[in-house]
């Protein structure tokens, strides 16, 4: 089972061929693939930014409508997930260990990692730096870098 990071979701939606092909290969094997509400929030930052809206309001509105439609389909398929109780406990442990070892990483990376560790998912991301740091703290974390 896989958990997509925001950068991979955007790459698919931008139609980056190399990423889309890799995604097709796991999707065609009927492997469960999830994304989080946190990634949806991050993509919404782009839709909300006034500078981008001024430049491309019409196009952004169309893209937002399509994105909403896609997210609703994914949600109906139960593929949009958030922290549950078990994930939250693991997140607490992870945050403590990272802080104690003086390894600051973005909170969202820690949240995705906690979900993946707790549910035995593999994170798919293009961000090598932060997830490799988390792996040094918690070797149960499985990550694929695309």
């Amino acid at each position: 089972m896989f958990l997509l990071d925001t950068n991979i979701i955007i790459a698919i939606l931008r139609g980056k061929q190399e990423i889309v092909k890799k995604y097709q290969s796991i999707s065609s094997k009927n492997q469960p693939i999830y994304l989080t509400t946190y990634s949806i929030s991050e993509i919404y930052i782009g839709f909300q930014d006034q500078e981008f809206q001024q430049k491309n309001l019409e196009k952004l509105n169309i893209q937002k409508k399509l994105f909403d439609k896609m997210v609703n389909y994914l949600d109906a398929q139960k593929r949009v997930i958030s922290l549950n109780l078990e994930d939250a406990k693991i997140l607490g442990e992870l945050l403590y260990k990272l802080k104690a070892r003086g390894k600051p990483i973005p909170l969202i990376d820690a949240i995705l990692s906690a979900i993946a560790i707790s549910r035995d998912f593999t994170i798919i991301t293009s961000d090598k730096n932060h997830f490799n740091v988390i792996k040094t703290i918690q070797d149960k974390l499985k990550v694929e870098f695309w």
């Binding site: 939606l13 693939i33 782009g46 981008f52 802080k99 973005p106």
Partner: protein, 80 residues
């Protein structure tokens, strides 16, 4: 454990399904595959909507940078 349901097929439809079934594919997986070809809801929405941002690659490059900067601004060492 996933609930099993029994359905009855006539000889003709059974033979048609058998012909379409791939090696190592279960009949359940075959039916999901065939239905997915007809029903967009059952397809993978991420693939169905792949490329919806492709017209504005430059803009989305900028948005990705913005998202990265937001993510970085929520570094754990800011949580005291």
């Amino acid at each position: 454990m996933m609930t099993q349901k029994t359905i009855s097929l006539n000889e003709k439809s059974y033979k048609m399904l058998k012909k379409l079934k791939k090696e190592n594919e279960s009949y359940s997986d075959l039916i999901i595959r065939l239905c997915s070809m007809q029903d967009p809801f059952l397809k993978d929405p991420l693939l169905e909507f792949s490329g919806i941002f492709s017209e504005d690659n430059e803009l989305w490059e900028e948005i990705e940078q913005l998202i990265k900067s937001y993510r970085a601004s929520y570094l754990m060492n800011h949580i005291e």
